[in-house]
């Protein structure tokens, strides 16, 4: 077990380095750099900028160095000083913006992930044990819709439906009086009152996919002979089900966190823009629209890192659940 964790952690580091470099390259893609844009802005406002000042600015931001030098500088600042660079459009350090938005993003994404598993697994089990029942058909149908209709369009349509029938606006995460207030019990309760809607919308497609996987896995397991044996021994039906086949069928579900998480994080970005949530999504959109690349890059980096950490946790969880993986036998 220990060597497995160690191996997994060792693999995690190069992947993280690769992704951070990739994102840094993306940040550098737009023509012109931060200083050039800044100088243009100043000149447009009528401020005179001398060539020496430009050189000084470039040196200060490390733009006179080659690409890998700039990358090392960027990473060093992030790791050692928690300095993600400066947001051009907000005129604030990127870390200050992230501090407000990232925790809420984590809350919504984590909530959606929990929702996906808590809803999909029981429905999947029920669908498999009551194959071709009315409930099974309804679940399959809703699953199909959830799988095909993207969250942000679903959000748009539901917002309209709720608004036009009940006159209630279900966007945002807080009521107006709590939006800028410091954290308190009232604000937390207010958050709980709003957060369920985006959680369901974002979790929709993942839930739909997992119901199908869970149903399929369990149906395969239910036909196996050990189930008949268990039943022949006289175990209660619920015990037969939960003690053996469900435990086997659930393993692939845990390992799917690896692909559920990226889609949840991506879905969160889109849905939060539609629902105007105070998370990283709308900030990322504004940053990309104004080519505020340090902000956009930092958010992308953080979202990717979170996803990778989530996947890592799920891998460790799976190793704990399934001894075949611990001993490196699975998939061979």
């Amino acid at each position: 077990m220990f060597s497995y964790i160690l191996r997994r952690l060792l693999l995690f580091v190069p992947v993280l380095i690769a992704i951070s470099f990739l994102i840094f390259v993306i940040i550098q893609l737009p023509s012109g750099d931060y200083v050039t844009t800044y100088v243009e802005e100043l000149r447009a406002q009528g401020v005179e900028v001398k060539p020496e000042d430009i050189q000084e600015l470039k040196r200060r931001y490390g733009l006179d160095q080659p690409l890998y030098g700039q990358y090392l500088r960027w990473i060093r600042n992030i790791l050692l000083e928690g300095d993600f660079g400066r947001s051009f459009s907000w005129n604030k350090p990127v870390s200050a913006i992230l501090k407000d938005t990232v925790p809420l993003t984590i809350a919504v994404s984590l909530g959606s992930t929990l929702f996906v598993y808590l809803v999909a697994i029981p429905i999947g089990i029920y669908s498999a044990t009551h194959k071709y029942s009315l409930f099974d058909y309804v679940a399959t149908f809703i699953g199909f819709i959830g799988l095909s209709v993207p969250g942000f369009l679903l959000a748009l349509i539901l917002v309209w439906v709720v608004y036009s029938t009940f006159g209630v606006n279900i966007t945002g995460l807080f009521s107006p009086q709590y939006a800028d207030a410091p954290w308190s019990l009232g604000k937390f309760l207010d958050l709980l009152k709003h957060i369920w809607f985006p959680i369901i919308i974002i979790g929709m497609s993942g839930t739909a996919g997992l119901i199908r996987v869970m149903r399929g896995n369990l149906l395969d397991e239910l036909q196996k002979q050990y189930v008949i044996t268990a039943r022949a021994k006289g175990l209660k039906e619920s015990e037969v089900l939960l003690k053996y086949p469900v435990r086997v069928a659930i393993n692939p579900i845990v390992s799917t966190i690896g692909w559920v998480l990226p889609s949840i994080v991506g879905g969160e970005t889109l849905v939060s823009i539609v629902l105007n949530l105070p998370t990283t999504g709308p900030v990322l959109l504004r940053a990309t629209l104004s080519q505020d690349m340090y902000l956009a890059g930092s958010i992308t980096l953080i979202l990717s890192t979170l996803t990778l950490v989530g996947t890592l946790i799920s891998d460790l969880l799976l190793a704990w659940l399934d001894p075949r993986i611990r001993f490196g036998k699975a998939g061979e």
């Binding site: 748009l156 917002v159 036009s164 690896g258 692909w259 990717s304």
Partner: protein, 380 residues
């Protein structure tokens, strides 16, 4: 194929069942795939609906009553026009009234009410806005249109008073094709990389698999957003279209590469591959001529199922203002108008392009499901 061709005069004496069985044994792989696909009702419906959608996009100039850029004065955000058939209790064929703006004194909102003094018939196969079909063939014939400045707006109008129906039809051009062009890129990428990985195995395979896992582990939407932010805004429509497709394919080729690799690993130990190798065939030739055809049908399924992802990707990016830029028209661009709740609540018809996206995506999923069942016609 009839039995007479095979010179079996006894056809009449055998039972119907025997003949059906014989027909089954004589049929080729693609014939069997088609027969099995036909049994899938939803997939057949999907094929028809998608066919209609693509036809309407192909002949957008003719189907749409107006050019996508035509603006109607005084029709900004107008609701869908009501079409009347009877006047004074007599059937006179379809016609529409003009509309005028009115201030609702209760809510102080502007409202559109029909202007009964202006009555315009809908004409079928009538001349209207000039166009060049596919940018080449000049014409001005429209399936249906109206004369003068009173339009028939099936889906209402957008903020600038342009016909949303015409724009939705035109928008299909970008939205429906970007899936195919993008899948084509992914296909090339996926087959080449997956082919190399699966054929050679060993270290090459290990490295490529790690790269694929890496790409699968990162959330695609933020990366897409960051990448498209790097595209200059002043680029031409064609150039933006091309690069958006590449951005979308950059991530989606991995699924295909995995599929190709898995299948290649399974078939590369077969005798016919060894035979080809001994006969001195080069490895690109073995992959192309001997290996790929053995799972073409599976590739088609994977391709079909990856089209909707591409369509959604373009829609999402354009919806956010990061993809196609106006004056280009795509379903995502049209949905930009529906970004805030006030718009959606007061002008729900501006959500109609979303329905087109949803229907298209659903249909591709149905089609893919049907194809998946049909892809291996030799399984029971």
């Amino acid at each position: 194929m009839s039995t007479e061709v095979l010179g079996k005069p006894a056809a009449g004496t055998r039972s119907r069942q025997e003949r059906a069985l014989e027909r089954y044994y004589q049929a080729g792989q693609w014939q069997l795939i088609w027969w099995r696909f036909r049994r899938h009702a939803m997939a057949r419906v999907a094929l028809v609906v998608l066919g209609l959608l693509y036809l309407s996009a192909a002949f957008a100039e003719f189907i749409s009553p107006y050019a996508p850029g035509t603006r109607f004065e005084g029709y900004s955000d107008a609701p869908p026009t009501r079409i009347h058939f009877f006047a004074d209790g007599r059937f006179v064929g379809p016609y529409v009234f003009g509309i005028k703006r009115e201030l609702d004194l209760k809510t102080f909102q502007t409202r559109y009410v029909p202007d009964r003094s202006r009555r315009v018939p809908i004409r079928f196969l009538a001349p209207g806005d000039d166009y060049k079909l596919w940018g080449v063939i000049p014409g001005n014939l429209h399936l249906f249109t109206t004369e003068g400045d009173v339009p028939v707006l099936l889906f209402g109008a957008d903020r600038l008073g342009r016909d949303l129906f015409s724009r939705t039809i035109y928008g299909g051009r970008v939205s429906l094709t970007i899936g195919f062009v993008g899948v084509l890129f992914s296909f090339l990428f996926g087959v080449i990389v997956g082919g190399i990985s699966g054929y050679f195995g060993g270290t090459v395979d290990l490295v490529i698999q790690r790269v694929i896992e890496f790409i699968l582990a990162i959330p695609s939407i933020p990366i897409w957003m960051a990448l498209s932010a790097a595209l200059p805004r002043q680029w031409s429509v064609v150039k933006t279209y091309f690069f958006i497709t590449i951005i979308l394919s950059l991530i989606s080729w991995v699924g295909l590469a995995r599929e190709v690799r898995g299948k290649l690993l399974a078939v590369r130990e077969e005798d016919f591959v060894t035979a080809a190798r001994i006969a001195g065939a080069s490895w690109p030739r073995i992959i192309r001529v001997h290996l790929l055809p053995s799972f073409t049908s599976h590739l088609i399924v994977v391709l079909t199922l990856s089209v909707p992802g591409m369509i959604l990707g373009e829609t999402a990016l354009s919806f956010l203002g990061l993809g196609m830029q106006p004056p280009a028209v795509s379903w995502g661009v049209l949905l930009q108008d529906a970004q805030n709740i006030a718009t959606v609540a007061q002008r729900p018809w501006q959500l109609i392009p979303a329905l087109f996206v949803i229907v298209t995506v659903l249909m591709f999923n149905f089609l893919g499901d049907g194809l998946r069942d049909a892809a291996d016609p030799y399984s029971s």
